[in-house]
């Protein structure tokens, strides 16, 4: 356990993705089965403990420490698990010495926590905490309070696992849903010692095929006749899969693009998926909110995302819907080796004959030339998108002969997103970055003008990371250092008024109303597109410019 704890501790402080990967791979390589498998389960969030709960931890520490000192310590540290881990008194000297047994392994701990009845949990947990060092206690407490939060996603852990041999992370994603900890067969496969594990999952996830962004110049080399065009809908990419298990029971699942099972959050889609009309199939599509037959904005869909509990009212108000792009399997037949045209015909047939509720077909956009495509991209409504135009974020171009290749192969699929919105805003605060960028001010808060009590004032409208060359970053960093008016820890306030101020051109994908922001608006995906060294700060945009964008879109989406 102590080794796993050290890994978590180190990963939590590591800023670079590569560094995290190396640390995890090193751990997987040098830790025996089944400990490393349980560690993988812990990092990917595949573990839960029924009886070990935070209330027990509070009770245990209260029995062992002076309440005044505990209160002062908790106040200072600010995190219960960490306070308890640090404060936990060393066991009596008598039990230390050389007779002390080695610290329990992660496997032993997980088994113990799983087998211990509720009534015995305080004693069992107390004894475990006695046997671990501070980092071990911290990791154990984080584990049972359900939040490792060490900045290592499930995807990253699987990528680290893939790097043990020569597997692609996507290959791991594909077998993952059918496997259970401690993943002995998975590690054996990753290390090249055993064949690919047989997944018994009747509704498995298929690693998705992704597109490269295209530039207008790239188009010249492509023949329009080879490609099929579709709208790129502004929702989230999902996979809806239905199958039957060994007992003949229907199993349906809705997966996110990264393979997370999000079925529980979308009972409305699941109901459609599990209806008899929907045969065994795997559909690749876009999750959207459709109201009165029209796709609503991403903002509407956002009401349904990242919620722990399903809110019946929200489900009724923002009904979810899947717009189908592709058919990956049907009645047990893997279609991914067919061409796009062949799959498309199967998909059209599937939707037409089965007519599943809450599913429809992503329409083909007919075109003759790339000029047509460029025009449709600027104005989707002119190409038949009509009132749904605001929910379109560009076009997809798919080679008619493309087989379904997981990952992001270059060539067969392209995406051509619409131009982002832009606004000229004034830099107000800058914050130092992390890792390589820890000496640079690379994270910016910017504002727009509005009328205040004493004339015009700047109100913060968003925050964005730096997104361009190192040379420009240096210039910007220097400007921040030269124009600092105030410091708050890692944050600097800079000069921002009508005569002095740096204007940043901010690109973003949309604006929503927000009650959490002082300005009343929140931008989607803001990023610094350009530094406007030439533009006087007083000529930066006003808040009304952003507010107008909300109004405009609302009107358009009805």
């Amino acid at each position: 356990m102590n080794r796993f704890a050290e890994l978590l501790d180190r990963v939590a402080f590591e800023h670079s993705r590569n560094g995290k990967l190396r640390l995890m791979a090193d751990f997987f390589r040098n830790t025996p089965d089944p400990d490393r498998g349980w560690a993988l389960a812990a990092i990917t969030g595949a573990l839960t403990f029924r009886h070990a709960k935070p209330a027990i931890i509070r009770q245990l520490i209260a029995e062992r420490t002076d309440p005044v000192l505990f209160a002062m310590s908790y106040d200072y540290v600010g995190d219960l698990s960490e306070t308890v881990a640090l404060l936990w008194p060393a066991p009596d000297a008598a039990s230390v010495g050389h007779n002390r047994p080695p610290a329990p392994t992660l496997t032993e701990i997980i088994e113990l926590l799983d087998e211990t009845p509720k009534a015995d949990m305080p004693v069992a947990l107390g004894s475990l905490l006695d046997q671990l060092d501070e980092t071990g206690r911290w990791a154990l407490l984080k584990l049972i309070t359900g939040g490792l939060r060490v900045g290592a996603s499930a995807r990253l852990a699987k990528t680290a696992l893939a790097s043990l041999g020569d597997l692609e992370p996507n290959a791991i994603e594909e077998v993952w849903p059918g496997l259970a900890p401690p993943y002995l067969d998975l590690f054996a496969w990753a290390e090249g010692r055993a064949p690919r594990p047989v997944t018994s999952d009747p509704a498995p996830f298929h690693a998705p095929m992704l597109a490269h962004a295209i530039e207008e110049a790239d188009l010249a080399a492509l023949d329009p006749k080879d490609f099929v065009a579709e709208w790129k809908w502004d929702g989230i990419r999902v996979q809806a899969v239905v199958g039957h298990d060994a007992e003949g029971q229907r199993v349906g699942r809705l997966y996110s693009r990264t393979g997370d099972d999000i079925s529980a959050a979308f009972p409305d889609v699941m109901e459609a998926l599990c209806a008899d009309a929907f045969g065994d199939a795997a559909i690749d599509g876009e999750l959207l909110v459709v109201r009165a037959g029209k796709v609503d904005s991403f903002g509407a869909l956002q009401q349904r995302l990242n919620r722990k509990k399903v809110d019946v009212k929200l489900v009724a108000e923002y009904p979810a819907h899947v717009r189908a792009y592709d058919l990956l399997s049907e009645a047990g037949e893997d279609l991914r080796t067919l061409t796009f045209s062949e799959r498309r015909a199967r998909l059209e047939n599937f939707i037409a004959t089965r007519r599943p509720a809450r599913f429809d077909l992503s329409a083909r956009v007919a075109f003759q030339s790339w000029d047509d495509i460029a025009r449709y991209r600027r104005d989707p409504a002119s190409a038949g998108a009509g009132e749904e135009a605001p929910a379109i974020e560009g076009l997809m171009l798919k080679h008619a002969d493309s087989i379904y290749t997981p990952g992001r192969p270059k060539g067969p699929w392209w995406k051509w997103k619409r131009d982002p919105f832009t606004v000229d805003a004034v830099l107000m605060y800058a914050q130092r970055g992390h890792g390589k960028r820890s000496s640079f001010y690379s994270d910016y808060t910017f504002g727009c003008w509005r009328e205040g009590a004493q004339g015009d004032e700047l109100v913060p409208v968003g925050k964005a990371y730096f997104g361009f060359t190192d040379a420009e970053l240096k210039q910007l960093d220097k400007w921040v250092r030269d124009h600092t008016t105030n410091r708050f820890g890692p944050v600097r306030e800079v000069e921002a008024n009508r005569t002095i101020g740096l204007v940043l051109e901010i690109a973003f994908e949309g604006v929503q109303r927000s009650t959490r922001h002082k300005s009343g608006v929140a931008m989607r995906f803001p990023r610094v597109a350009r530094i406007r060294w030439d533009k006087p700060s007083r000529e930066a945009d006003r808040l009304e410019a952003l507010e107008a964008l909300i109004g405009e879109r609302k009107q358009m989406s009805g």
Binding site: A12, F13, V68, L69, K436, S438, G489, P490
Partner: protein, 342 residues
């Protein structure tokens, strides 16, 4: 306390009316006794200064030879009469030259700890517990969450990171007086035999430690041209330098920081530290409590740090305890960053 007052807290610091001297005063005074060379305890501009030879040397290195009008060397364990009050300096184990100061008027004995630690340190003599009536202790890490791990284990973390990331420079932030040299010595003990690179701000004091006979192996000062080439090397620097423009030219640097504060993850994260090493030159909670018991004092005063927690604990074992909340101590880090900027 019906007896005449032997020591009393004043805005300038602890004052002895009978001997007419201050201990570690935070402003210029006619006569000062200095426990150790850190900037928050040893300030320039006093009339006369009484301190260990090494503390006086360090003050001269930092402030120039004219840091005071007259100076007097105190040897460890040797009683010195200051206006009728006997003062004795004893090792505090904090940094080279650091001392506790025992003040005695024949009836009552008070020990002022200065900053101290109990963990073994290859760069300075160990702390000696002194029996006294009143113990005046620091309390920098006086919360039971502060239990410093074995410093060798922490150095092990640094070496295993170097093994895993040989293409990255490891910048190790450490206060330039004491901690930096202790880290060098610990790294040597752990078997690191490559040169240790240092930032210019660490150079003066490191050279002094070496002149005083502390073996640190080969030390090299980093020049601008060296920086891109230091993959897989240890570079000692003041903590502030890690966020400084200076750190930019190193290959994919790992930001390490050796400090007792690294015990609390949020503090390490706040500073952007990637490799926190919990190595402190202050006593941790257990050592503070053990030391207070060893002095057999009947009364505890607490100068600076988490004074309330330590005073609370002392009262639970039957000591009279009072937090003094002296202002101006505990800023060595800020002092160090000023130095780095200079």
């Amino acid at each position: 306390m019906a007896d005449p007052i032997l020591l009393t807290p004043t805005p300038a610091g602890l004052y002895c009316p009978a001997g007419d001297f201050y201990i570690d005063p935070v402003r210029a005074t006619p006569r000062a006794l200095i426990t150790h060379g850190h900037a928050d305890h040893a300030r320039a501009g006093h009339g006369s200064v009484l301190a260990t030879r090494q503390t006086l040397d360090i003050m001269a290195l930092r402030y120039g030879e004219n840091f005071c009008e007259t100076r007097q060397i105190a040897k460890y364990g040797e009683g010195i009469n200051v206006n009728g009050v006997e003062v004795t300096f004893h090792p505090a184990g904090h940094v080279l030259g650091s001392a506790q100061i025992c003040v005695c008027d024949g009836k009552k004995r008070i020990v002022v700890s200065g900053d101290y630690k109990r963990e073994q340190d290859p760069t300075c003599p160990p702390f000696e517990p002194i029996r006294c009536d009143i113990f005046i202790s620091e309390a920098t890490f006086a919360l039971p969450v502060f239990r410093h791990p074995d410093s060798r284990r922490e150095v092990g973390k640094l070496l295993s990171s170097l093994a895993l990331f040989p293409e990255r420079a490891h910048l190790l932030g450490a206060y330039s007086l004491g901690k930096a040299q202790r880290m060098m010595a610990l790294v040597r003990e752990a078997g690191w035999d490559k040169p240790i690179w240092i930032h210019g701000a660490v150079e003066k004091i490191t050279d002094y430690y070496i002149r005083e006979g502390v073996d640190l192996g080969e030390i090299r000062k980093v020049t601008a041209a060296d920086r891109p080439k230091l993959a897989g090397e240890i570079v000692l620097c003041p903590p502030s330098a890690i966020q400084d423009l200076w750190s930019r030219k190193f290959p994919d640097p790992v930001a390490a920081f050796a400090s007792g504060w690294m015990r609390v993850r949020a503090r390490a994260r706040q500073r952007g530290v990637e490799l926190p090493l919990i190595v402190s030159d202050h006593a941790d909670w257990d050592d503070l409590c053990a030391t207070i018991r060893e002095t057999q004092c009947s009364e505890l005063w607490v100068t600076h740090g988490e004074a309330d927690a330590l005073a609370h604990w002392a009262s639970t074992i039957g000591l009279r305890a009072k937090p003094l909340h002296l202002v101006g101590y505990g800023d060595e880090e800020e002092a160090a960053s000023d130095e780095a900027a200079a």
